[in-house]
């Protein structure tokens, strides 16, 4: 009689068949991946939304303030000079300028219509102040202005937003951290599930090694299975998360934080990255667990 000769090529899926399907742990992995990806979508939405908010608010800050001077006509020029000299001698100011009548008119036109006789009206003179890095001491500046030019008022209303912008920035970081933690948790859970699956199949592994299977071959069977399960679970989880986010009320013009908690523009791209990313995490985690466990088993 003659014996079979080795032949090249074989469908890779056969590696899957040599390990019996394991019911409960399979669902555990799929469910974990789904749940984790679902959570991840929200962490992502939070992170992107707070990122947008942080950007918007810090842009609005733009480090400018206004000094408004309202004084009796005969005092205007004297106090204007006083304001300019105070600003010139205050540390922490990058630049400043008086806004001239033409510009003032342009600013007021939307409210009062064209042809406004600015000279004849008691309209305050405006000075634009650009803050340096680090900024000026606004309380000190306010006091000096009060002393030298009683009609001048420092308006740095945008300053109150700074802590908010910082909070939004912090929130974005927390979101990113949450995503990293969710990913690490998923990797840990998949590692445990993979180790359990390998332990359950110790007998199968012994047979495979007996007939000459390499670790990489045995690992492949487990890695493929866990990666595919994770991909499936993560796809469902991401879809559910996206549906949840899409179901939130749309961002209105006021751009409140809660209503703005969605994806916009390129942000829509990220949730779609999650399932392949989860699969990659599963691939690496299972591979590592498999090689470790195989070494322990024999």
């Amino acid at each position: 009689m003659k014996f079979p000769k080795a032949k090249p090529a074989s469908p890779a899926t056969r590696a899957l068949e040599v390990v019996p399907p394991s019911g409960p742990t399979a669902w555990l992995t799929t469910f974990t991946a789904g749940a984790m990806t679902f959570l991840c979508v929200f962490a992502l939405a939070l992170s992107l939304a707070s990122g947008r908010l942080a950007d918007r608010w810090s842009e609005a800050l733009a480090r400018t303030a206004t000094v408004r001077l309202s004084a009796p006509a005969e005092q205007v020029q004297i106090q204007t000079d006083a304001v300019l000299s105070v600003l010139a001698t205050t540390p922490g100011i990058a630049s400043f300028r008086a806004i001239d009548d033409a510009e003032t008119r342009a600013l007021l036109e939307p409210w009062f219509g064209p042809g406004l006789p600015v000279e004849a009206l008691p309209i305050p003179r405006l000075f634009e102040v650009v803050e340096a890095e680090p900024g000026y001491d606004s309380e000190g500046l306010r006091q000096r202005l009060a002393a030298e030019a009683p009609g001048a008022l420092l308006d740095d209303h945008t300053r109150w937003r700074r802590p908010l912008a910082e909070a939004a920035e912090r929130l974005r970081l927390l979101g990113v951290l949450s995503i990293a933690l969710i990913g690490a948790t998923m990797a840990a859970m998949i590692t445990l599930a993979a180790r359990a699956a390998l332990a359950t199949n110790a007998e199968v592994i012994r047979v495979l090694r007996l007939v000459g299977a390499k670790d990489s071959y045995i690992a492949r069977a487990f890695v493929r299975r866990f990666t595919l399960r994770t991909l499936a679970g993560a796809t469902v989880g991401a879809a559910a998360g996206l549906a949840g986010v899409a179901a939130l009320p749309a961002a209105d013009a006021a751009g409140g934080f809660l209503t703005g908690l969605g994806f916009s523009g390129a942000g829509w791209f990220w949730p779609f990255v999650l399932p392949p990313l989860a699969a990659l995490v599963a691939f690496l985690a299972t591979r590592r667990a498999a090689f470790q466990k195989l070494r322990e088993l024999t």
Binding site: K2, V18, L210, K214
Partner: protein, 223 residues
Amino acid sequence: MITFENVAYSYGGSELLSDVSLRLAPGSFHFLTGPSGSGKSTFLKLAYAELQPTSGRVTLFDRDVTALSRDDVARTRRRIGIVHQDCKFLDHMSLAANMTLPFTVSDRESDPQDLDELLGWVGLRHLADALPPQLSGGERQRAALARAVIVDPDVILADEPTGNVDWEMSLRILTLLVELNKMGKTILVATHDLNLIRQAKSQIQARVLRIAKHRVQLAGADL
């Protein structure tokens, strides 16, 4: 093919095997006998690198087993047909799939015609689609033997291949082993069945190794 040089082995306690030196020449037929628990299976495990000697040297195909990586061990196993004492199979796969497992795990394709021929040779053609748990003891033994030879190995190590079958089936399995030896394969059979050994000696030139007092000795003609 396989050489042992002053090999000793212990599972942690006292030495189970001591100072074992022997050489399995290509094309030879050896029996390994000894009382239950004397270390026959242990000896075979040393011979297919499942265990490493606690002292001394085991060489497989001219390579020291302690120098083999895990992948090397896997590759070496493809040149050795192993019939395990308890005939392990993958219970969720058909007999045919189990037989071709040595091909599957090395990403090779087996010829269906050759498989069919091999199943015919061991008389299991009608059970190709059966699951291993449905097989009788004798059928399992023959299936294990068929799986061991499917990749055309140079060496066949069989641990109690007639362990749980009747005399008639033992003879049938022996005939298969003798045929393999005639094809040039090196064969080592662990058994405590002295009748089987006598029967074999009438058909073929076989040598008998006996484990006694932790040593492996060549038995005389006193069987």
